[in-house]
């Protein structure tokens, strides 16, 4: 049996941080940059200043939200290690080591890979296709994912006008607006801009999702040293405050929307101000935020499983493990982005991540303890000094073990003789193998696919027309 209960804060420390967040929400408050929010939050009992759009929160209001906003329960059929394929702009050309703009062909290829890679739980189109008008690209990608992805998917939406279009597409698939309502087919992430702001567009989009009872992830993107205090504890106070503020707003909408909470915590490189994707302090903050989110009673996610390495090297693998394995050991529900490589997307990285996660999933199966696995009788029959190779018990379990699909287990001589390749070469081969051997096939009936195509085409044309004016 597995117990994933790694903690970096004592219960007292969690309470101290949460009390700090309560104080900040009472004294400083949070700005909701959307007129409608003022009415909504006022009706929920918040102290609203309409001229500055700053909202202050009493303890009662926060507790009311914590008591009444339900947490997302992840679909039970998903494996324990949940990882989404990343959503990025550029894509890596593995040969030239250059990032280039993505194309629709890339998007199809990424979906194909996601279908074939067992340990990637949520699919994505990977990139922003540069051959589709930028305001319509989200709709275009979602169209592809709805048609071809064998898995639930993850696609960010930045354009408010795209939301009704995406809803219409989702209704085609689910069968209608009532069927879509309350399903987990679509979800949205409401992201604060630290410190203590929620921008208008995101609020407007979130409202559209909430009105249909679709799940919302409220996430806080603090960055130690720049938009948040330089101390991890202070960062967590700010993170908790933003999550609670978002939660109160969701509560004020009085819908049945379920919520997950997320920590997209970052650390700034103190030397230059650059954003870092992996650091030990960041891992500590992910772990601390997870405990706080659990204390609130919610499903938790974060942006772990990323790296600052630009290469497929030892640093890359280690940093992925640093945040990914630790968050797993703490019982996080959702990890960061697979296929992510230095703010771009890499199909080879997706394959490597899939392999790595396969190992972690296997660890998640734990150690089975029963009479058969304890094997006392076999140990007795072999006795001191023998060996187990000829035993039936061994035969019966010879295929239990995890087997790599690309990781190498060959001798040094064999490795050196066959060119001394790094794992990236095998990952690249695997990408090519999947792309050349697999076809994308429609996952929905043809009439639905046709309807989706029509909606996408309409949106692309509308954007193009607007651009032409």
């Amino acid at each position: 049996m597995i117990f994933r209960k790694l903690k970096v804060l004592s219960d007292d420390e969690v309470v101290k941080i949460v009390e700090g967040a309560f104080r900040i929400l009472r004294t400083t408050g949070c700005r909701f940059e959307d007129e409608k929010c003022m009415d909504e939050l006022e009706s929920a009992g918040c102290d609203v200043d309409r001229s500055t759009m700053v909202v202050k929160f009493s303890e009662d209001v926060i507790f009311d939200a914590l008591d009444n906003v339900p947490s997302v329960t992840p679909p039970d059929d998903l494996p324990k290690v949940r990882v989404a394929s990343a959503n990025k702009g550029m894509i890596l050309d593995c040969k030239t080591k250059k990032m280039r703009p993505g194309t629709t062909e890339d998007a199809r290829n990424v979906i194909k890979l996601c279908n074939s890679l067992d340990n990637i739980t949520l699919a994505s189109a990977g990139i922003v296709s540069s051959d589709v008008p930028v305001q319509a690209v989200e709709v275009f990608n979602i169209g592809l994912l709805m048609k071809y992805s064998e898995k639930l998917f993850n696609q960010w939406i930045y354009e408010t006008e795209n939301v009704p279009v995406v809803m219409e597409m989702a209704e085609v698939i689910t069968g209608g607006s009532e069927e879509l309502r309350g399903s987990k087919f679509l979800s949205y992430m409401l992201n604060s801009v630290s410190p203590l702001r929620f921008p208008p567009k995101q609020l407007a989009i979130s409202r559209m999702y909430a009105e249909r009872d679709l799940p919302i992830a409220v996430a806080s993107m603090t960055q130690a040293g720049s938009v948040s205090p330089a101390t991890p504890a202070g960062c967590l106070v700010l993170c908790a405050a933003e999550l609670l503020a978002g939660l109160v707003w969701v509560r004020s909408l009085r819908t049945k929307t379920e919520v997950a909470l997320g920590a997209l915590t970052q650390v700034m490189q103190m030397r230059t101000g650059r954003q870092l994707y992996a650091s030990p302090e960041q891992t500590l903050m992910f772990l601390g935020a997870h405990q706080i989110i659990r204390y609130f009673g919610y499903c938790s996610g974060n942006t772990s499983f990323e790296t600052d390495s630009c290469d497929f090297d030892m640093q890359n693998g280690w940093e992925k493990a640093l945040s990914g394995v630790m968050c797993w050991a703490a019982g996080c529900d959702m990890f960061g982005q697979a296929g992510f490589l230095f703010d771009g997307f890499s199909m080879e990285q997706l394959v490597l991540d899939n392999e790595a996660l396969g190992m972690l999933s296997k660890v998640g199966e734990g150690v089975l303890v029963n009479d058969d696995t304890l094997a006392l009788d076999v140990i007795k029959s072999v006795g001191p000094g023998g060996n187990f190779l000829g035993e039936k018990h061994t035969m019966a379990h010879a295929r239990d073990a995890w087997r790599p699909s690309i990781f190498q287990r060959v001798s040094f001589e064999h490795w050196a003789k066959s060119g001394g390749m790094r794992i990236i070469a095998h990952a690249h081969d695997k990408v090519n193998e999947i792309l050349s051997s697999k076809e994308l096939s429609l996952q929905i009936p043809e009439d639905q696919a046709k309807a989706i195509d029509d909606i996408v085409a309409r949106r692309v044309a509308a954007v193009a027309e607007k651009g032409a004016c």
């Binding site: 702009g89 930028v134 330089a230 030397r271 230059t272 101000g273 650059r274």
Partner: protein, 211 residues
């Protein structure tokens, strides 16, 4: 230690209040404003710049020195008007349309101000038209654009086109920065330069204005 030396050190020691106090004393003692700027403020911030490059000081420390410079400069600037002082250059900077992230932009602004540039802020989610209007009004030497998201990056191209269409492109240099942006992308959209972090942005402005 001379007063100018003390001003210089207060910047290196990251003490904005002290810089202002010393600058005011220097003015009261009748030291020429130009001399205070050149011999005190600028020589201080230049040393900090070198230390920053050599990884001896970290960004928050540079920012504090930059604040000391900026505050000291504000104290002396009313007196500078008569002395014919010109800022090193005028920069307009903003986060492009769709992007509501401003931390990167704000760091660059602080460092540029701390290096003696006059900086105007176009804010966040700034549409191409806002850039055009502000360029007409301010007449900057350099326009800087920032984007954090890959989807908003595309608006950098639109902004460059808008400046071209308005006939303003040739009068200024355009620089871009932000997590998803690269030197290739900068070239592709017709910008004059790309800075990979705030320190590089300052160097970039310096070299573009020198050329």
């Amino acid at each position: 230690m001379s007063l100018l030396e003390k001003i210089k050190n207060s910047i290196i020691e990251m003490e904005p209040e002290l810089t202002v106090e010393l600058t005011q004393s220097a003015l009261a003692e009748g030291i020429a404003p130009m001399e205070i700027v050149a011999g005190g403020l600028i020589s201080g911030i230049e040393i900090v710049g070198v230390k920053f490059k050599n990884d001896e000081v970290f960004l928050p420390e540079v920012m504090m020195s930059a604040k000391a410079f900026k505050d000291g400069f504000a104290a002396v600037s009313p007196k500078l008007k008569d002395s014919g002082y010109e800022p090193k250059g005028r920069v307009l900077i903003g986060s492009v349309k769709g992007d509501i992230h401003d931390i990167g932009k704000n760091i660059v602004i602080a460092l540029l101000q701390g290096n003696g540039y006059e900086v105007h802020d176009a804010g966040v989610d700034a549409p191409p038209e806002r850039f055009v209007d502000m360029v007409r009004e301010i007449k900057p030497n350099v326009v800087g654009m920032s984007a954090l998201l890959t989807t908003t990056m595309a608006f950098m191209r639109d902004t460059v086109s808008a400046l071209k269409d308005a006939g303003l492109r040739d009068s200024l240099k355009i620089i871009v920065g932000g997590a998803p942006v690269s030197a290739d992308f900068a070239k592709e959209i017709g910008a004059d330069g790309y800075g990979e972090d705030a320190g590089e942005a300052v160097d970039l402005v310096k070299s573009l204005l020198a050329s």
